[in-house]
C-alpha cells in the first residue's frame, strides 16, 4: 500500500467518526478534499512544489489520529501558560493539539465584535463567518497536505476582526502538541480582518510530546481593505516533530502584511505561504529565519501572486545551517499580465556553519507584465574568516566569535521586527538557540533567568 493510500483507507473506515465530532462546515468540505487527495495517491509525478520535501515518505509512518478526541492533557484547560513576552501584555489562546482555549478574562479584554474561539464555538456564535470563509482559499490550490488536512480536520481556531476594529494588544496563540504515543494532528486557522482592521498575531509552536508527532496546519487569512496584519510565527518544537504548515493569504486594496517566520528548533518543517493581492496598493513583507543543526530540515516555500497593479512584496529569508542540517528556500513571485508598477524583492542568504550542511535556494520570477521592478538574489556562504580573526585578536574565543557572527547574520532579519519587546526577546531566543542552550521552548521564565 502506498504511503498516501493508508489515509484514504482510514478515511473510508472512520469518516463517520471524523464527521460526528466536527461542525458541518468542515464536513461539507471533505468530499472535494478527498477527490483532490486521491489524485495525489494515484499520481507518480513529482510535484515541483515539493522538490525539497519528500512528503510521501514523511507521511508513510503509521501515526495515530485522535479521531475520538480524547484529552491528552492532565492539566486544567485554562492554565495560564508560562510564556509571557515582557511588556507585550498579549491576549493568549492556548491550542492543545487542535483545540483552542481562551480564558474568559482574556476574551473580555478584546474589543466588541471581535471573535476569537474554536470552530465549534464559532458555529454557534458566528456561523455565517465560518461558512463564508472556511475552505474558500485553501481549496483553490491543489496541495496534498492541505487536502489531507481538510479531510481529517475536526476543530480549529477562528479569529475575526470586524470592520474598523484595531486590536491594540497582540494576540498570542501557543500551540502545543501533546501525546504519549505517535500522533498525527490536523490544525486549522481562519483569520478574517474586515476593512480597516488591524491585528498583531504571535503564533508559537511547541511540543510537550517525546514521541514522533506530525502536524498539518492550514491557515486561511483574509486581509480586507486598508487593514494591517503583523504575523509572527515561532517554531520551537523538537527533533521528533514533523510540521507541514500551509498558509493561504489574500490581501485587498491598501492592505499591508508583515510576516515573520522563525524556525528555531524543529525536526522537519515545511512552511508554505501562498499570498495573493486582489486589490491594488497592497504590500506584503515576509521575513524568515531558520536555525538548524543535527539532522533538522527546514523548507520554506513561498509564492506571491501580484494579480493587480501597484503592489509590493518582499522576501528576506536567512538560514544558519550546522552539522548535517538541510535548508531549502523556494520563493516565487508571479506578476499577472496587464498589471503595472508591481515591485518585488527576494533575498535568501544561507550560512553553512557545518561542512556537511546543505542549502538549496531557488528564487523565481514569473512575470507577464512589462512595467515591473523585480529583483532576486541568493547566497550560500561561510563565516567571514577575516572578521573571525579580527575578533580573536581582540580576545574573543573562536567559538564565541562564530556565535556572534551567526547572530549578526540573522540579526539583519530580526531588526525588521517592529515591536521592540518582541524583537529583543526573539533576539535572545536566537542567541540561546545558537549557543545550544535551548533544546525546545522552555517558557519565558527560563529566558528571564539567563538575562
Amino acid at each position: 500500500m502506498s504511503a498516501l493510500q493508508q489515509y484514504i483507507n482510514l478515511y473510508h473506515d472512520a469518516s463517520e467518526l471524523v464527521c460526528e465530532r466536527a461542525v458541518d462546515v468542515l464536513n461539507m468540505a471533505r468530499p472535494e478534499a478527498e477527490r483532490q487527495f486521491c489524485a495525489f495517491v494515484d499520481s507518480t509525478a513529482k510535484l515541483e512544489d515539493y522538490k525539497y520535501t519528500d512528503y510521501k515518505t514523511l507521511l508513510a509512518p503509521d501515526y495515530g489520529l485522535n479521531l475520538r478526541r480524547l484529552s491528552f492533557s492532565s492539566a486544567s484547560k485554562y492554565k495560564k501558560p508560562s510564556c509571557s513576552i515582557a511588556q507585550m501584555d498579549s491576549v493568549v489562546v492556548q491550542m492543545e493539539n487542535d483545540v483552542p482555549y481562551i480564558s474568559s478574562e482574556d476574551l473580555a479584554r478584546l474589543p466588541k465584535g471581535v471573535f476569537v474561539g474554536s470552530f465549534s464555538e464559532a458555529a454557534i456564535q458566528v456561523p455565517q463567518i465560518l461558512e463564508n470563509y472556511y475552505g474558500k482559499f485553501a481549496e483553490k490550490h491543489s496541495d496534498p497536505l492541505t487536502s489531507l488536512n481538510t479531510l481529517f480536520v475536526q476543530e480549529g481556531l477562528l479569529i475575526f476582526v470586524p470592520s474598523g476594529c484595531k486590536i491594540d494588544r497582540p494576540l498570542q496563540v501557543i500551540s502545543t502538541t501533546h501525546s504519549n504515543q505517535p500522533l498525527m494532528c490536523h490544525q486549522r486557522l481562519l483569520v478574517i480582518l474586515e476593512d480597516g482592521a488591524s491585528l498583531t498575531l504571535l503564533h508559537c509552536d511547541e511540543t510537550a510530546a517525546t514521541v514522533d508527532t506530525l502536524t498539518t496546519q492550514v491557515g486561511e487569512i483574509v486581509v480586507g481593505r486598508e487593514s494591517e496584519l503583523q504575523m509572527f510565527l515561532l517554531e520551537e518544537t523538537g527533533v521528533q516533530h514533523t510540521r507541514f504548515h500551509q498558509v493561504y493569504l489574500q490581501q485587498d486594496k491598501d492592505s499591508s502584511v508583515e510576516w515573520f517566520d522563525l524556525t528555531l528548533q524543529n525536526g522537519y518543517t515545511r512552511n508554505t505561504l501562498r499570498g495573493c493581492f486582489v486589490g491594488e496598493n497592497a504590500s506584503l513583507a515576509t521575513y524568515g529565519v531558520a536555525l538548524a543543526s543535527g539532522k533538522q530540515r527546514v523548507d520554506n516555500n513561498l509564492l506571491v501572486r501580484h494579480e493587480v497593479s501597484n503592489c509590493r512584496s518582499t522576501m528576506l529569508y536567512k538560514y544558519v545551517l550546522d552539522d548535517q542540517s538541510v535548508g531549502a528556500f523556494a520563493g516565487k513571485v508571479y506578476v499577472a499580465q496587464g498589471t503595472v508598477k508591481n515591485e518585488s524583492e527576494q533575498t535568501n542568504a544561507n550560512l553553512c556553519a557545518g561542512n556537511d550542511a546543505r542549502a538549496y535556494s531557488q528564487p523565481m520570477l514569473e512575470i507577464y507584465a512589462d512595467d515591473v521592478q523585480c529583483s532576486h538574489g541568493s547566497t550560500v556562504g561561510k563565516l567571514d574568516e577575516a572578521a573571525l580573526f579580527y575578533m580573536q585578536q581582540r580576545g574573543i574565543p573562536l567559538a564565541e566569535a562564530r556565535l556572534m557572527l551567526q547572530h549578526a547574520f540573522v540579526g539583519e532579519v530580526l531588526e525588521h521586527i517592529p515591536i521592540e519587546a518582541l524583537r529583543q526577546r526573539l533576539s535572545i531566543l536566537t542567541d540561546l538557540r545558537l549557543r545550544g542552550k535551548r533544546e525546545k521552548c522552555q517558557g519565558c521564565k527560563a529566558v528571564d533567568a539567563c538575562y
Binding site: A387, M391, R394, G395, I396, A408
Partner: protein
C-alpha cells in the same frame, strides 16, 4: 619583554620571514620600517597568531611565555594587541557588544568577574575621549561604514579599552589626516607605561616625531638588516631604502 629569535614563517608555501631576531624590552617603543612587501605585516600577523601564516622555525617569548603555543585569543588575553593595517568590517556586531565580549573574555581568562554594565560604559566613554571618537560609533557595527581614518582611530580606541602590554601598530598613521594623526599619536603616548611596549610599523617621519621611538629596525626581504636609533628612521625618510639594500647585498 618580547624576544623574537630566528623566526621563519611562510604563507601559502612561500617563505616570507627568513630568520628574524628582535628584542623589545618593556617600556620601549620600537619602529619597524621596510619597503613594501618586505614582510612587516607578515611578522605582525605571525605574532598575533593569524592561522594563514605558518611558523617553520624559531621562537617568540613574551614575558617568559612561549607565545607561539597560544591561540590568537589567548595571546590577546596575555596582552598582545594589533592595530590592523586594514581593519575588517563586522556588520551587525555593534562596537559595544564586540568590546564587551572582548573585555569579558579577557577577564574570564584572568579569573576576574565580568565588568558591570555601568563600569563598562564608563570605560568606553573615558577611552573614546582619549582618541576623540564620537559616541554614535558605539552603536554601529564594528568598522561598518567607517571611513579609512575612522577605522584607524577606532583601532587605537580599542587598544585604549583593552590596555594591552605589547601593541603592534601596523601603519596606523596611514589614512589619518594631520589632526587625527596628532590626536591618535598623543593618545598612544598617554597609554605608554613602564610595563608596556610596542612595535610601530610606519613609512613616515611624522610618526617618528610624535612617538620618539627607542629603536628603529629595517626589514628587507624577511630579515632585519639594520637597527639603530631614531636617526636611522630619519635617514631612511631622507634617502629611501636602496642604500640599505645595496649595503646588504654587498655584504652577502
Amino acid at each position: 619583554m618580547l624576544e623574537i629569535k630566528d623566526l621563519h614563517a611562510e604563507v601559502e608555501g612561500k617563505e616570507i620571514l627568513k630568520g628574524i631576531d628582535l628584542t623589545i624590552p618593556n617600556g620601549e617603543v620600537h619602529v619597524l620600517m621596510g619597503p613594501n612587501g618586505s614582510g612587516k605585516s607578515t611578522l605582525s600577523n605571525v605574532l598575533v597568531g593569524h592561522p594563514k601564516y605558518t611558523v617553520t622555525q624559531g621562537s617568540v617569548i613574551f614575558n617568559g611565555i612561549n607565545l607561539l603555543s597560544l591561540s590568537a585569543a589567548d595571546r590577546a588575553h596575555e596582552g598582545i594587541f594589533m592595530s590592523f593595517q586594514a581593519p575588517t568590517e563586522i556588520p551587525g556586531v555593534s562596537m559595544t557588544n564586540f568590546l564587551r565580549a572582548a573585555i569579558n573574555a579577557k577577564r574570564e581568562y584572568h579569573k576576574l568577574p565580568a565588568l558591570s554594565a555601568s563600569d563598562f560604559l564608563k570605560l568606553l566613554r573615558e577611552k573614546r575621549k582619549l582618541v576623540g571618537l564620537d559616541a554614535h560609533f558605539m552603536n554601529r557595527g564594528v568598522n561598518e561604514g567607517f571611513s579609512g581614518g575612522e577605522r584607524k582611530r577606532n583601532e587605537i580606541f580599542q587598544m585604549a579599552v583593552l590596555e594591552p602590554l605589547f601593541s603592534i601598530l601596523d601603519e596606523t598613521d596611514s589614512g589619518l589626516d594631520v589632526d587625527a594623526l596628532r590626536i591618535v599619536a598623543e593618545g598612544f603616548n598617554t597609554l605608554r607605561t613602564e610595563s608596556t611596549s610596542a612595535l610601530v610599523i610606519t613609512h613616515y617621519q611624522r610618526m617618528l616625531d610624535y612617538l620618539r621611538p627607542d629603536r628603529v629596525h629595517v626589514l628587507v626581504d624577511g630579515r632585519v638588516v639594520q637597527s639603530g636609533t631614531i636617526d636611522l628612521g630619519y635617514e631612511i625618510e631622507a634617502r629611501g631604502f636602496d642604500w640599505i639594500k645595496s649595503a646588504v647585498s654587498s655584504d652577502n
